[in-house]
């Protein structure tokens, strides 16, 4: 069965790259430009994986993770954070909010797939 991934990032190029990579890997892709948009995408949809950036306008990544995790249908959905090496504390904050893991920027498609494979094979 095709798996669905929700990608949340305000950077279009980043989102495109992640989306393209995961489509190549057979995922069906939903996208959101910030946390709020992403929550709207999630309404009524069941996704198998969520990948989110941290710094976004309107609703940041941490708040989004917390809210997404609070919804019953996402209770056990793997959520990956896109973070940078300088955000060590953010990783912890993200985990506390319910994130499963993280992908450290900069990354390339191969690295992305490796981490995705880890939480949603």
């Amino acid at each position: 069965m095709t798996k669905t991934v929700l990608i949340v990032d305000d950077s279009v190029s980043m989102r495109q790259m992640v989306a393209f990579t995961l489509k190549q890997a057979g995922f069906q892709v939903l996208e959101g430009g910030n946390g709020k948009e992403a929550l709207e995408r999630l309404a009524g949809a069941k996704v198998d994986l969520i990948i989110t950036d941290l710094n976004m306008p309107v609703m940041d990544g941490i708040t989004f993770v917390r809210e997404a995790r609070a919804k019953p249908q996402n209770k056990f959905t793997p959520i990956l954070l896109l973070t940078t090496e300088s955000q060590e504390s953010k990783k912890q904050e993200g985990k506390a909010a319910g994130a499963t893991g993280w992908i450290v920027k900069p990354f390339n498609p191969e690295q992305l797939l490796k981490v995705v494979q880890k939480v949603a094979p």
Binding site: S11, V12, T77, P78, K95, A99, K105, P106, N108, P121
Partner: protein, 678 residues
Amino acid sequence: MQIDLTPFRRAFLDESAEHVAALEEGLLRLESQPEDSELLSSIFRAAHSVKGGAGSFGFEDVARFTHVVENLLDRMRNGLLRAERSLVDLLLRANDVLKCLLEAARAKEYGQPAAAACDTRAIEAELQQRLGAPQAHEASAPSVTASAAESPTSSSVWRIEFAPHADFFRTGADPLLLLRELAGLGRVVSIEAEVQALPAWDEFDPEVCHLAWRLELESSATLAELNDVFLFSSDDARVAIQPRGAARAEAPSVDALPSSAASAPAQGVAPAASAAQRRSGAESASIRVSVEKVDQLINVIGELVIAQSMVADVVNNFTPERVGQLREAVLAVERNTRDLQERVMAVRMVPIGSIFSRFPRIVRDLAAQLGKEVRLELEGEETELDKGVVEKISDPLTHLIRNSLDHGIEPPLERERCGKPREGVVRLRALTEGGSVFVEIADDGAGLNTERIRAKALEKGLMRPDDNWSQEQIHQLIFQPAFSTAATVSDVSGRGVGMDVVKKNVESLGGAVAIHSTRGEGARFRIKLPLTLAILDGLSLSVGGQIFILPLVSIVESFRPRAASLKTLLSGGEVALVRGQTLPLLRAHRLLGIEGAQTDPTKALLAIVESDGRRVALLVDELCGQSQVVIKNLDANFRRVEGVMGATIMGDGRVALILDVPGLIRLSEGATSTLALA
């Protein structure tokens, strides 16, 4: 899987250009509202996005430089540094360097010769100084610390204990996946689950993890690789990994090895762009279009395909009775084609805000240089214009704004003396009205000095002492080449070069500039621009059997005059009386040199046309009908002809010239003034 990153790299470059613009805008706003934390966050985000993407897409120098900028912004965001003027200055300069780096990256990406090298070092040093301790090249990609436990490839057996915390599932983690991942690294020699913690059935909570595992794994993986399996679980589980037979229980640091160690960004270094991808102006190489516009386009195409199949159906099974159906189908095609045309043109429309955004910086720097206090107000940034127009209007606007600051707005002391606030206001406004877009540059400065312009014009012989010109006409003189009334030539403007170029540029876009000025209260320059360059609503008319097109927007009305309403002046000029107004009568056949046209106005038609608020009556044989025409440039294919703005190809294949109303008026004025001199 090999993935070509080229399209994403290009999207990143486009996006970064926007981030850089947003950074600049944000920094400028920061000056007046240094405590605005939301603003600081958005500035930080812009820098952060550039950094994050730059690394992933292989622009190392951009990533490294932006990292320093980001650090500084982060301190500001956390209240450790105040957004004082000198700091904002520094960040603005840093942003310029960033822009330079991105442009260099863009040039490289598109295989163009790089422009001047960007000097990052000086700014970077200044940034580092602000950051305090010289962070001796803070490793943006941490180097890999070789693990002591890394053994050679020979296979060995590891004993692994894995005890997830009770709330392990809370973060969407799954122990089964981790066990499978371990199994994938080698051969599981033995595995056992600890079930002692399992509660009785009636107390069992399926969302709590009660199990733990011990396994022996024969694998050639290193300790680091094994630790990597538990990368995300270090805080949510007890993990112990040791070689079988090891006496001492090693407490492995699960999370010590940063995943970025594995992500040395070797991938994604730009391959040289092929020659085929070379383009001239990188700026205009791509255009960002909202999804909505594209969707509308696709809808119309769908309609068009249906209409086309209707035509095909009728034509393939044609009987004379079906001629009505055919006409209907052709009408549908026509409607859809027009719709399609409009939608495609809409794709070329971009908000004028994309060039407005550069002016706050220009005004800020210039005001400081001139010792004036100026506030720039922007309005109507969302007004859409053809991309070609937007790009070409930038220079004239820049010039007019510099002009307003230099000549219009008075120094603060002088303003106080006149009872005005010290701070002058320049208002840049765009609006759509009818078929045109207006861009206004208004200031509350001194206004044009009509007397001085008049004196200068007399001195230059542009007007005669007994000429009784209106204030408006005198003001228009500032658009004459090499006309400057500035007492001293300043760095900024006042050499008399420019205003004539402004006018020429605007007119080459099919636009016009008008001035409204009141001495002591300010001046307003109003630029009128066509919405688009390529398509025109036109009225076709005939003169001596030839077809011409008049832009519909310039036509007010048309009628056949009675002899009583026509007068010939002593000078030889003709006028028509239209509802009490006296309008100059221009004979199209005479201006265009056409023989065989109707020369008796009472047997022909007068088209009242308007340009720049002036009306004239144009004598033509007859009007043929209204149509949308595609403008073909005449300058490029033939040469520039006064009074003609271009040509188009009619439905029957004939070429028709498109008349340029301001040009016709100029032509007629040339004619009358020669007459007047004779």
